[in-house]
């Protein structure tokens, strides 16, 4: 986690002269969805922190696991206490690059984003398509990708094995504002 702060702080502080190249949101949206024959589970997080440096395409994202809101209180409790162990690993993060950022036509288009996703204290290299848009001075990144629960060493008890999908769909919509 120390490394993450160094990245965020350096993204925010370095090159103060070109401050308009930094974009920040503290209210980004990330949700995940699990579909199984027994039930569908969805959780939303509206308090995602994300910083983008448009000069390099670097991006750093961080969120609190406890900020995921579930429809059912019981699911939220099991998620935090048993599966992702929020008391031990309160945060998830992603640090990476938006590829070919400078080549995007007037900053609207689809490209790839690649980097390291850390959940439950385990790291995994991921790569996914991202839609990049610039609207009303907002830098919007949106898209979705799939992750395997097993990759993050998250143990699902046998009794609820059929209730939770092995692969979870993660969706994101991050609306950044210029940071100065």
């Amino acid at each position: 986690m120390k490394g993450f702060y160094i990245i965020v702080i350096s993204l925010l502080l370095i090159n103060q002269v070109t401050a308009q190249e930094k974009y920040l949101t503290k209210e980004g949206y990330i949700s995940f969805f699990s579909h199984s024959i027994v039930e569908d589970i969805k959780a939303d997080n509206n308090q995602v922190l994300s910083v983008v440096d448009t000069s390099s395409g670097e991006i750093a994202i961080q969120l609190l696991m406890r900020s995921f809101m579930f429809k059912k209180a019981l699911m939220q409790e099991h998620f935090n206490e048993n599966y992702v162990e929020s008391y031990k690993y309160p945060k998830a993060s992603f640090t990476g690059h938006i590829l070919n950022f400078e080549d995007l036509d007037e900053l609207n288009g689809i490209t790839e984003i690649t980097g390291t996703l850390t959940v439950h204290g385990r790291e995994k290299e991921i790569s996914t398509k991202v839609l990049v848009e610039m609207k009303n001075n907002e830098l919007i990144l949106s898209g979705n990708f799939k992750v395997d629960v097993a990759d993050f060493d998250i143990k699902i008890p046998a009794i609820v094995e059929n209730n939770i999908a092995k692969t979870i769909k993660v969706s994101f919509e991050l609306r950044h504002n210029p940071y100065n």
Binding site: K26, L64, R66, N80, S86, P90
Partner: protein, 140 residues
């Protein structure tokens, strides 16, 4: 003999119905009702932020998942996905406390403005660059 068998079946069914009811109630148990829940800690936004900055790990263990009542100055009111978000921040402070309000509080936002001193009750979820609170309500 017949009536004995009937009694067995009846009591078996009764047990099934009772356990199903318990399971469904447990499965559907409601989210914490912040308004009705006792406050675990009452403090000012400055004190909360300072504690987090001094020792994030220990402070997080102390406050996260707990109901806090915070006093502070409104820095910003915004809306997002149908909910209001109040940012509490004091002059000269880099960090703030971001409070995601319950939808039922939306109407009360109209009466508030930047710079007002208010009291907010909610559940703390932790610290990023700011302290994050969810399920918040205004304390009047």
């Amino acid at each position: 003999m017949k009536s004995n068998q009937f009694r067995w079946i009846l009591s078996f069914l009764l047990i099934v119905v009772i356990s199903l009811t318990i399971m469904v109630t447990y499965y559907n148990k409601p989210h914490i009702n912040v308004r009705e829940t006792k406050v675990d800690y009452t403090l000012s936004t400055i004190n909360l932020i300072e504690e987090y900055q001094q020792d994030e790990g220990a402070t997080d263990k102390k406050y996260s998942e707990h109901v806090l009542q915070l006093e502070g100055k409104i820095f910003e009111i915004s809306a997002q996905q149908g909910n209001s978000v109040i940012t509490l921040k004091d002059k000269g402070s880099e960090s703030s406390v971001i409070c995601q309000m319950m939808a039922e509080e939306n109407k009360k936002m109209l009466k508030l403005k930047k710079g007002d001193n208010i009291s907010i009750k909610g559940v703390c979820t932790g610290y990023l660059l700011d302290v994050i609170m969810v399920r918040c309500i205004l304390v009047e």
